[in-house]
């Protein structure tokens, strides 16, 4: 259990560590993804700025055209535009115009000159009565968009305001969001104005610029076309919205629309990474809002966190396995050590017991000889007296003599038991079946069992292997055990004899299994008091009434079993009575003839 607990603790620690490493790895991956995304967004914004500068270059060029000439004729304007190859090189440019600043007082002169320049049907399209007109003088329209030739953009406050801002600042000026109304899609667009001042006029102050204004070059862009080229490589990676102004209000949307769609859906389209970048476009602020596309996520997906999970998981499993293995090894080692300690203790006890028995045996042999001679004298004396009594019969004396003779014979029985224990004989080992030995022993004690009304139940395994045994000695063992059982059940009972083959699962040697044959003898007697259990093998120890036991039976039994390399175990059964377990090693080749006795 200890090993299992340690393994669970290690598993829990590994899970915690794995979770922490995974979260750090994931945060790192998210950080890298955000950096990559921001780089993508910055890159797109930079390209957009570059493109805007390039497109502004067209306007600078047109302004240069005016700076280089005293006047720019219609044919020159067209030649310049043609040379730009606008449709091929500047996609998104829908119109390119020159807007002339025309004081109302000079309107007629302007009309006359313009018509003389080849625009015979040139008409001013103006509303209102402002002092200055801003008339589209040259107009190269690539796609049908406003404003048309002759249109006075000053008629519209928005365009007029943009034109005036460009004039006053001398800067490139973008006009407010423009719906290209003539475009069927009403796609958003924007308009750039760049002021053109009269040559040889100072334009340092505001007043000088207003005085020197000659007109404006103007380009109209369709936003989608303008951006397409910029996004070319990044279109698969990011979505981009462009808003006119510093906020991302959808009515100011110039390009895209994913953020508006998300807002309309109440944020249900995802709230992942976004990036907002502001850029200056012709004096206005554009707000670029980016979000990564699925392809971006697929590209930047950091598999390191998954790898960390897999590798960490494998390492964790290994760690848990190692701890579990170490734990179970320790348990096995402990079990083995305990088993070996137990065996060592048993061996020590057996050695002690053997030494005790050896000395007892030697003593017994000596005592037996010295006791038997007096017994012989007494017996002969009693026999003589009994013979003498035949001449003068006396029942009482005869009874006394008889009891004395019985006492002598009992003493002789004890002495014989001692000598039997102490006698030196070799075991006569032969490969024999155990069951017939048990059966024969039961026959030998049948008289004792019948007298005590003891019933016998036999559960003898017919498949037992042969064992190397001394048949007569083992009969003596079984007779002792069965006789003890009979004496333990003076008023009747049940004697159950079981033989079986057992496979020992754990041996002191560690792994090898060993097979044993066991004989289990159960009786239903009163059992042995616990405090006396340790003494039952001691010589002369008996719980039987005087005259019924010599106290040597179990001592001799134990010795015979030991000489067979077997074991005897006597225990009280929980249900009452005694259980005797005799166990013999099955391996015949390991058995050896052993000196019996001292």
């Amino acid at each position: 259990m200890k090993s299992g607990k340690s393994a669970w603790i290690v598993a829990a620690l590994c899970l915690i560590a794995l979770g922490w490493i995974w979260s750090v790895s994931r945060a790192h991956a998210q950080y890298n993804a955000r950096i990559s995304f921001q780089q993508q967004a910055d890159s797109v914004a930079a390209k957009l700025r570059e493109r805007l500068l390039v497109y502004e270059g067209i306007l600078h060029g047109a302004r240069g055209l005016y700076a280089a000439s005293k006047s720019v004729e219609r044919s020159e304007w067209r030649a310049y535009i043609d040379s730009l190859s606008i449709q091929e090189r500047y996609p998104g440019v829908r119109a390119f115009s020159f807007i002339a600043a025309v004081p109302r007082s000079e309107l007629d002169v302007f009309l006359e000159k313009t018509r003389a320049d080849g625009a015979f049907d040139f008409q001013i399209r103006s509303s209102g009565n402002l002092p200055d007109l801003m008339v589209v003088k040259y107009d190269e329209v690539f796609v049908d968009v406003l404003p048309p030739l002759g249109y006075d953009i000053a008629s519209e406050p928005v365009r007029r305001s943009a034109a005036e801002r460009a004039r006053d600042t001398a800067e490139m000026t973008a006009m407010d969001k423009l719906a290209l109304v003539t475009d069927r899609t009403e796609a958003p667009g924007f308009l750039l104005l760049y002021p053109v001042y009269k040559n040889d006029h100072a334009v340092v102050t505001l007043e000088q610029r207003r005085q020197a204004i000659q007109g404006w070059v103007m380009a109209v862009f369709r936003m989608e076309d303008f951006v397409r080229g910029v996004l070319a490589d990044s279109a698969e990676q990011v979505d981009m919205d462009i808003f006119d102004g510093q906020s991302s209000e959808c009515d100011r949307l110039l390009y895209g629309g994913w953020s508006c769609a998300r807002n309309a859906a109440g944020g249900r389209l995802g709230t992942g990474m976004t990036s907002s970048i502001s850029m200056e476009a012709g004096g206005r602020t554009w707000t670029l809002v980016f979000r990564p596309r699925q392809t971006f996520y697929a590209q930047v997906q950091d598999r390191s966190s998954v790898l960390v999970l897999i590798i960490g998981g494998v390492i964790s499993l290994l760690l848990v396995g190692i701890v579990w293995s170490l734990g179970t090894t320790q348990i096995r080692a402990t079990t083995l050590a305990e088993a070996m300690t137990h065996e060592l203790r048993q061996a020590h006890l057996q050695l002690t017991q053997a030494a005790k028995l050896e000395s007892t045996g030697r003593l017994a042999a000596g005592v037996a000889h010295e006791v038997k001679n007096p017994l012989a004298i007494m017996l002969m004396g009693l026999e003589y007296l009994a013979g003498q009594l035949e001449a003068h019969p006396d029942a009482e004396i005869g009874s006394v003599l008889k009891e004395m003779k019985q006492a002598v014979m009992r003493a002789d029985s004890i002495v014989r038991g001692l000598l039997n224990f102490a006698s030196q004989r070799e075991l006569e080992l032969q490969a024999e079946e155990l069951n017939p030995v048990v059966e024969n022993s039961l026959i030998l004690v049948k008289h004792e069992l019948d007298r005590a009304h003891v019933q016998v139940v036999k559960n003898l395994d017919p498949s037992l292997p042969k064992l190397l045994i001394d048949r007569l000695k083992l009969e003596q063992v079984f007779v002792n055990v069965f006789t003890n059982a009979a004496h333990a059940m003076p008023n009747g009972g049940l004697l159950t004899v079981t033989t079986a083959r057992q496979i020992a699962q754990v041996t002191a040697q560690g792994s090898a299994k060993s097979a044993r044959v066991v004989v289990v003898v159960d009786d239903t007697g009163s059992g042995i008091p616990k405090k006396l259990l340790a003494k039952i093998y001691d010589p002369f120890f008996t719980t039987k009434p005087t005259g019924q036991g010599t106290g040597l039976g179990l001592t001799v039994t134990q010795k015979i079993i030991e000489l067979h390399s077997g074991t005897i175990e006597i225990q009280n059964r929980p249900e009452g009575g005694v259980r005797v377990i005799l166990s013999f090693t099955e391996n015949i080749s390991d058995s050896k003839e052993t000196e019996y006795g001292s």
Binding site: A368, H369, E370, K372, N373, L375, A376, I377, M378, L379, M380, G381, E383, Y384, G387, V408, M409, D412, V415, R416, L419, N420, S423
Partner: protein, 130 residues
């Protein structure tokens, strides 16, 4: 002499004087035996030569000279070697000589303490025929 000649001579050699006396009394009471006892093994051979027993009851463990040595000396004497010898000894147990008496090697053994009936049966069995 005629009566004595009908009685069989039994020589008991045993260092236990009391046992020797008790056995002698018992055997003599039967009226069938003339019994002589000797407690000293060293005098056993001399006694056999003089007494000429029909059967010898011989103890094994005795001081100075054991029963086994006595038996060897008797067997070595051509005139005495045919006298049957029964070892009556405490060195064997009743279990070892059951059913009594038994031959252990070339000798007969009876275990002490032996009942008179056993001793008589053994003597009768091993006495040489008339």
């Amino acid at each position: 002499m005629a009566v004595e000649s009908r009685k069989k001579r039994i020589l008991i050699i045993d260092d236990e004087l009391s046992f020797l006396r008790m056995l002698k009394l018992n055997l003599e009471r039967t009226g069938r035996f003339e019994v002589y006892g000797e407690i000293n093994g060293t005098r056993a051979l001399e006694m056999v030569r003089s007494f000429r027993p029909d059967l010898i009851l011989l103890d094994v463990v005795m001081p100075e000279i054991g029963g086994e040595e006595v038996a060897k000396q008797l067997k070595a004497d051509k005139q005495l070697c045919l006298i049957p010898i029964v070892f009556l000894t405490a060195t064997v147990t009743r279990d070892e000589v059951q059913p009594p008496p038994v031959h252990l090697g070339e000798y007969v053994f009876l275990a002490k303490p032996a009942a008179l009936a056993e001793v008589l049966a053994c003597i009768d069995k091993h006495l040489p025929p008339e």
